[in-house]
């Protein structure tokens, strides 16, 4: 076995990396959504209610991908 093969060897299920990716994406997305909502509310506090609803739908769409991505653990061996 040559050195490249030894160095590149990994054990376990490669799908685990996918679950990590499924967590990173929504974390970035929700961070942006919430951060922008804070900016908006800081500029115009009277719009807080409307911005909350927009934030909520933004979070819902972002986390939907996370749920599906993590739930693929059920079907990927």
């Amino acid at each position: 076995m040559d050195a490249t093969t030894v160095l590149a060897e990994i054990n376990g299920n490669i799908a685990t990396v996918g679950y990590g990716l499924a967590a990173i994406g929504p974390a970035i997305g929700v961070g942006i959504v919430v951060g922008k909502t804070i900016e908006g509310v800081a500029r115009q506090p009277e719009l807080a209610g409307r911005l909350q609803v927009l934030m909520w739908i933004g979070i819902a769409f972002t986390e939907a991908l996370a749920f599906i991505g993590i739930a693929t653990y059920f079907i990927f061996v």
Binding site: Y19, A23, V30, V34, I38, V41, P45, E46, L47, A48, G49, R50, Q52, V53, W56, I57, I59, A60, F61, E63, A64, A66, F67, I68, I70, A71, T72, Y73, F74, I75
Partner: protein, 159 residues
């Protein structure tokens, strides 16, 4: 620190009726989806399919609903001086907790023999999509006043 806003104003954000209606409508759609997915699961995979469909739909609806519920809970503190901190603490803390619980549930249920994991996955995806559809429908049909912290004629209650 002085607050420039008038004291008598009700500072409850105007998002409450929209979120409350989304939760109510989401619950109704979830009940329908639960029945449909349970029947399909039972037809295609027997008793294990039935259990998987019930668990999958319930997980999707509960976990998608927690965001709206956490915003509603956080808005109860709208008169507090610490509202902004409390709001994002509750909403994002709830979000983090939700995902930890979700991952733990997925790991626990993966090797369960009393349910069909494929049916569970499919009904979870169906539940997530149905929940998103309900959210979008509620938002597009919502009527919200532009302001939260001034005296207005009563906001439409949507009930």
């Amino acid at each position: 620190m002085t607050d420039a806003r008038p004291e008598s104003a009700d500072r409850t954000p105007t998002s409450n009726p929209v979120l409350r209606r989304a939760l109510t409508l989401g619950g109704i759609v979830a009940a329908v989806l639960l029945v449909v997915s349970a029947v399909l699961g039972f037809v295609f995979a027997g008793a294990e399919g039935l259990a998987g469909a019930l668990v999958g739909t319930a997980m999707a609806v509960v976990f998608m609903g927690i965001t709206a519920a956490s915003i509603l809970i956080a808005n109860r503190f709208s008169s507090s001086d610490l509202f902004v901190g409390a709001f994002f603490g509750i909403v994002l803390g709830g979000w983090l907790l939700k995902f930890v619980v979700f991952i733990v549930l997925v790991v626990l249920l993966r090797d369960a023999t009393w349910l069909d994991t494929t049916v569970l996955f499919l009904s979870l995806v169906a539940g997530v999509i149905a929940s998103l559809a309900v959210d979008v429908i509620v938002i597009t049909k919502s009527r919200m006043p532009h302001v939260s912290d001034v005296e207005l004629p009563a906001a439409p209650s949507d009930d």
